[in-house]
């Protein structure tokens, strides 16, 4: 067992967990933050993406024990009273159907837009598609997801 202390969505949290506990398990089972989804558990689908110290990672492929002191943000932490522009854009553009992939899509997309803006690079629809390589959606066919991200990028 390891005692871990981290900040999740701005709040200090701690827990005693077996060393093999994945971050996705710690979030969902210990903290009951079930917005982070587990689609594949094999690092392929991206439904489990959260931000660790500001960077998107797959929480199903990260040990909670390795993250003592980390700052974690999950889908539950992105809205602040009102929906984040990325959430609103997915809503407005029909960027989801069943919604299973959506938390990971949103976490990946927020970072994508922020990174391109910081670098002064143009986020073309081709670039969006390439950036989404690690996020799989079985419903939408991606068109409306790309549209949502373009829409949010114009507003963020």
């Amino acid at each position: 067992m390891t005692t871990i202390n981290m900040t999740v969505n701005g709040k200090a949290v701690s827990g005693d967990v077996p060393d093999q506990t994945l971050l996705s398990e710690f979030l969902r089972e210990n903290l009951r933050l079930t917005g982070t989804h587990v689609g594949c558990d094999t690092s392929q689908c991206g439904a489990c993406v959260v931000h660790i110290n500001g960077k998107p990672v797959k929480s199903c492929s990260t040990l909670a024990a390795s993250l003592d002191g980390a700052d974690v943000k999950t889908i539950e932490g992105v809205s602040n009273g009102e929906l984040h522009p990325m959430q609103q854009a997915f809503n407005d553009n029909h960027g989801l159907q069943c919604g299973f992939c959506t938390p990971g899509m949103i976490m990946t997309s927020i970072d994508m837009v922020e990174r391109y803006k910081a670098a002064g690079k143009d986020l073309t629809s081709d670039a969006i598609r390439a950036e989404l390589e690690g996020n799989i959606c079985r419903c939408t066919g991606y068109h409306n997801i790309v549209k949502s991200i373009e829409d949010a990028a114009a507003k963020m």
Partner: protein
């Protein structure tokens, strides 16, 4: 996953001690390969020794035209590093196309090289750039490091601490990605540098990454796509699987080599 004991190593000595104390202790870096292997019960280490917090393990430094890249440097940090972009842009470009953004934020160069997946990208760069693999006990030339499928010259408990790359005068990597896994179906790294003209191929060989000597000779006598016209890659020793037959991979080696030469 089976139960495992996690250690965060604070120094090389601490890591070495934890690795020899455990029954079957294994180094953990980004975990992007190892944790998946453990979930499938293909690996069942007693202990994981996390080397990422050891001072000096992550980060890039440049001295003259030599880059030293710490083993725990993530793919994203190699891709975004100004010294790598300046001295060896082909390596930054390669790192920027490994897997997806989330994998690049966790996966490390040391983990990729130690794992020596036959379809991984970095091994081809290391061979073509005549890189030196630095461990806690010695320095090994890339030519002597990679040893068959998932095999390397590393001894039990030996820790890669860095890789050293001398800036080439020309280099480029062309990858034909397998669309589902994002790994190379065939990747070819060409370089004209400290080790002469080199062509290294990943994704194709039954024994993992290899140098294509016919193409090296052709490019040494004239660096152009046309120089490769007469050099057919043989399908002997190439992999055949559901993603592509050996003759298809042989064909792709020619195509990717030309694209890399044109881009260099």
């Amino acid at each position: 996953m089976y139960p495992v004991k996690y250690h965060k190593a604070t120094s090389i000595a601490d890591a070495v001690a934890a690795l020899s104390a455990g029954d079957d202790a294994t180094i953990l870096a980004g975990g992007q390969t190892l944790l998946a292997t453990m979930k499938q019960h293909l690996a069942d280490p007693s202990d994981l020794v996390d080397i990422r917090s050891i001072d000096g393990m992550a980060g890039v430094s440049a001295a003259g035209n030599v880059l030293t890249i710490g083993a725990a440097t993530t793919h994203a940090d190699v891709a975004g590093n100004a010294d790598v972009q300046k001295l060896c842009p082909a390596l930054a470009e390669l790192a920027s196309h490994i897997g997806d953004p989330a994998v690049r934020n966790m996966g490390t160069i040391g983990g990729s090289i130690a794992n020596n997946d036959p379809a991984a990208d970095y091994p081809a760069a290391m061979l073509a750039l005549n890189a030196t693999i630095v461990t806690n006990t010695r320095e090994v030339a890339a030519d002597d490091f990679f040893d068959g499928l998932f095999g390397t010259a590393l001894d039990d408990g030996e820790i890669i601490t860095a890789v050293k790359v001398t800036a080439p005068s020309k280099a480029a990597y062309a990858k034909f990605a397998q669309q589902a896994s994002l790994f190379a179906l065939v990747g070819v790294f060409v370089a004209d540098g400290a080790g002469g003209v080199r062509v290294a191929v990943t994704g194709a060989g039954e024994d993992g990454v290899f140098r294509q000597s016919g193409m090296e000779a052709a490019l040494a006598s004239g660096w152009s796509e046309a120089a490769l016209d007469g050099v057919a890659a043989s399908e002997d020793g190439l992999m055949s699987d559901l993603h592509g037959s050996a003759d298809y991979r042989a064909h792709l080696i020619g195509v990717m080599a030309k694209r890399a030469v044109a881009a260099a």
